[in-house]
């Protein structure tokens, strides 16, 4: 059945504590600054305890249901490769996934009760998904601050959004400027680093096998 055709659906996925909800808040603010209607929702009841977090961001002229139905997401922003794989069925045909390759292994895997997928990125590609994979953790370490991962992720998807990358960048920089001037500069740098990381990777990038 039909829906508001111009609604953009972004699914941000990861694990409690990674900054998934902050990322979707920033995306929402960017859409609002352009005069769009926005809905943002997450299922994160006990997320602070290392569980799965999925945040749905929808924006357009008028957004009704806050939930992105399976098969309806334009973009998946994956803070963790197995989590991106878990939600890949939410992508619409032709959708893209931007994935940080840093693996977070939960205790149930450490205990040997379940296996971590050998190569989640390759599995997503096998399913026909266009995947942009990059190591946000490594970029953050280069910049000297692991907390930059969130902004790097935002930079990584900035050129795939239906609005200029600069809009998103401005929202992030202003958000940090309110806290500290140095943070604004560092985040601007992180944003550009994320942008470059995905501008230079194609869909045939090497997989995550070597990612720590």
């Amino acid at each position: 059945m039909s829906k508001e055709p111009e609604t953009t659906n972004i699914l941000v996925v990861g694990i409690g504590g990674q900054g998934v909800m902050t990322a979707s808040e920033i995306l929402s603010q960017a859409a609002i600054s352009l005069g769009l209607d926005v809905k943002k929702t997450e299922v994160a009841g006990m997320a602070q305890r290392g569980g799965v977090v999925t945040s749905h961001v929808r924006f357009g002229t008028r957004v009704l249901s806050p939930v992105i139905a399976p098969g309806d997401a334009d973009i998946i922003v994956g803070f963790e490769p197995a989590e991106a794989l878990r939600w890949v069925t939410h992508l619409k045909p032709g959708g893209v996934a931007m994935v940080n390759v840093n693996r977070l292994v939960p205790p149930v895997v450490s205990l040997g009760l379940f296996d971590y997928p050998d190569d989640p990125i390759a599995e997503m590609r096998k399913a026909g998904i266009e995947v942009f994979d990059f190591d946000a953790g490594a970029i953050a370490r280069e910049l000297g601050d692991l907390r930059m991962v969130n902004t790097i992720m935002m930079g990584a998807i900035a050129d795939r959004l239906p609005f200029p990358a600069e809009t998103l960048k401005e929202i992030i920089v202003e958000r940090f400027r309110a806290k500290k001037e140095e943070l604004a500069e560092l985040n601007a740098k992180a944003f550009e680093a994320g942008r470059q990381a995905t501008a230079s990777v194609g869909n045939t990038q090497k997989s995550t096998e070597t990612a720590a």
Binding site: E25, K40, T41, G45, S110, L113
Partner: protein, 616 residues
């Protein structure tokens, strides 16, 4: 603090339903707002606490919180109370009588139903309370409506002299949508009006008020028939018309943009005549409500032919991917195969945090589980039911660890004869409803060992303060209950109250062994803070010396998420027995240096990061 606290009237903000309700409570001139934390309602009171000109406070439980709010209403002030769905089970004693007395100042109760169970022990439909208590139910569909309906709810409460329930769900509480805000209108308390015939509910009074209550329900029904909170929306495709309320309305509109819809904002009492007229105008009628078929049953009983739970699930959210195939099926249209919700990847259940003070407790309890029955409670420590500990036998509701343990201890038969009974409860839950249970235990001479895990926070809901943390909702100093003295006061012998440091493995283990062996009730009190609260401080992190690690994997039984496996091997022993070995590493950046896991390491391979050079 959210920027909206200082926002000027007529400005627009992206607010969660909880933030929107908080703003509306402030604007409505409320004088006192109370709550006990509970997902998904917690942020309502947390946000109210940021506003000036009104008092916000955490109560020890939902019944207490509602009664405090009722008191404020009785003296003519507007009062507000928020809780999660199961909270009303606790508070309902107050609700079911106060609805008969009515209100002084407007009294609004926000109840947040966890539809889909993101963090609850059951899925309840709080709209039943409207039917049960003969009081109105308002159901917002997004944050703007949550904001507007909260303000309307106070007017309705005062107009009809009734408590009003604002029924939220997770998809209202935790969804952010744009809200245009207004400004606060002061509403001073109008003063207590002495009237024993209203406020003193003895049988003679209550008998006289029952007909008044039914009359009130009749007047509210008339209101429901005419209010703009209930809206009929025309549609060009009248094969199916939808009757819906709450967030389900948004899912209906998304799925069937051309269908006629009757949206109920004031969903109890139902405007049956308007709905009868609506039903007559469309082909088929489908009632879309989360979660129980309440409106559906009432409409069917009124002779209005509707579909509902005959084609829709009675559980969880009614999202577009659920609605579309069901309605297509009803219309005899072809239903396409639905894409799967999620791909098959290992589960990632919530688990305890790195360095959590509950980890050592469950490390010990899992080792003693064969000799014990372990009765659990509601909080982070409920996670002890998961891997690797698997050390909880029961969890039912707030405070039930102690009381159910008493029942187990008193009635256990031959099969459990050699098992001692342990109850596990946290500080906030103990103060919520556990104290009564402990008093009952000592009075009735039950034998239970209570593990009272005091981490100075209501942990699972985000570390809120409480009567045992020494701080109020604003973080200011507050009287702090002395747990050891409290246990003594309700009858636990002083020598049976054992205060131990959770991170000291031998002492903790030995204490549990001793107390479970003794034939009288005892309390083992740990006092190490939650690792997520401000007063927690990390110690220098730890590291595994790879050459010293023997792969015994004992440290994995701690269940700390900072311990990761680097490689596995299967070793065949001389007797032919196969042993799984796993070598580990510790994620230094995450480690809190709690120093517990080194005590589980035979070869002493876990050392402070700074010591590595000297050891090597």
């Amino acid at each position: 603090m959210h920027a909206v606290v200082k926002a000027a009237a007529e400005t627009r903000h992206l607010l969660s339903g909880n933030e929107a309700v908080a703003r509306a409570v402030w604007e409505a001139g409320v004088k006192l707002a109370t709550a006990y934390p509970g997902t998904p309602s917690t942020e309502i009171l947390e946000n109210i606490a940021f506003y000036p000109d009104l008092r916000a406070q955490w109560s020890v439980n939902e019944k207490v919180s509602l009664e405090v709010a009722i008191g404020a209403s009785v003296v003519g002030a507007r009062a507000f109370c928020a809780m999660k769905h199961v909270g009303m089970n606790v508070a309902s004693d107050a609700l079911m009588s106060q609805t008969l007395a009515g209100v002084g100042g407007g009294l609004v109760i926000a109840i947040a139903d966890d539809v889909g169970l993101s963090s609850s022990q059951n899925e309840q439909d709080s709209r039943f309370w409207g039917r049960f208590g003969h009081l109105p139910i308002l159901e917002p569909a997004d944050s703007q409506e949550a904001y507007e309906m909260t303000k309307r709810a106070f007017e309705i409460s005062e107009e009809f002299c009734t408590p009003v329930i604002l029924r939220m769900t997770t998809r209202i509480c935790h969804v952010k949508t744009l809200v245009t805000v207004g400004e606060r209108v002061e509403r001073p308390a109008t003063g207590f009006v002495s009237d024993p015939g209203q406020w003193v509910l003895v049988p003679t009074t209550a008998k006289k008020r029952l007909p008044w209550q039914l009359d009130r329900e009749g007047r509210m029904t008339a209101f429901s028939e005419m209010t703009d909170l209930n809206v009929e929306e025309d549609g060009s495709d009248d094969r199916v018309g939808f009757i819906t309320s709450g967030p389900a309305y948004m899912h209906v509109r998304e799925s069937f943009p051309d269908a006629p819809v009757f949206k109920l904002g004031f969903s109890h009492p139902l405007p049956k005549e308007r709905l009868r007229a609506f039903a007559a105008k469309v082909g088929k009628v489908v009632v879309v409500e989360e979660t129980e078929p309440l409106m559906e049953m009432e409409l069917l009983a009124a002779g209005i032919h509707v579909h509902g739970k005959d084609i829709l699930p009675r559980l969880h959210e009614l999202t577009p991917n659920v609605l579309v195939p069901a309605v297509k099926g009803l219309l005899g249209e072809k239903v396409e195969a639905e894409p799967p919700q999620a791909a098959a990847v290992f589960p990632r259940p919530p688990t305890m945090c790195v360095g959590c003070p509950h980890l050592p407790v469950y490390y010990c309890l899992s080792r003693l589980h064969r000799q014990t029955l372990i009765s659990g409670d509601i909080g982070c420590y409920t996670l002890g039911a998961g891997h690797p500990w698997n050390a909880l036998d029961t969890t039912t509701c707030m405070g039930a660890s102690i009381t159910m343990a008493q029942g187990m201890a008193l009635a256990k038969g031959e099969a459990d004869e050699k098992k001692s009974v342990v109850a596990v409860i946290g500080d906030s839950t103990f103060l919520h409803m556990g104290v009564n249970g402990l008093l009952d235990l000592t009075y009735n001479k039950g034998n239970v060992t209570l593990m009272l895990l005091d981490n100075s926070a209501t942990g699972m809901t985000g570390g809120q303060d409480h009567a045992g943390s020494g701080r109020d909702i604003h973080g200011d100093e507050a009287p702090r209950v002395d747990f050891a003295k409290l246990c003594e006061a309700v009858g636990i012998k002083k020598e049976r109250i054992r205060v131990v440091n959770a991170y000291e493995l031998p002492t903790l283990y030995k204490t549990i062994k001793e107390e479970t062996a003794i034939d009288e009730p005892s309390v083992i009190l740990t006092g190490q803070p939650c690792v997520l609260i401000d007063s927690f401080h990390k110690s220098p992190p730890l590291k595994v010396i790879d050459e010293a690690c023997t792969g015994c994997a004992n440290c994995l039984n701690v269940g700390c998420p900072a311990i990761h496996v680097t490689r596995r091997e299967t070793e065949v022993r001389k007797n032919g027995k196969e042993v799984e070995k796993a070598w580990v590493t510790i994620e230094t950046a995450a480690c809190t240096g709690c120093d517990f896991c080194p005590q589980t390491c035979g070869p002493n391979a876990i050392v402070p990061v700074g010591d590595v050079a000297t050891v090597m």
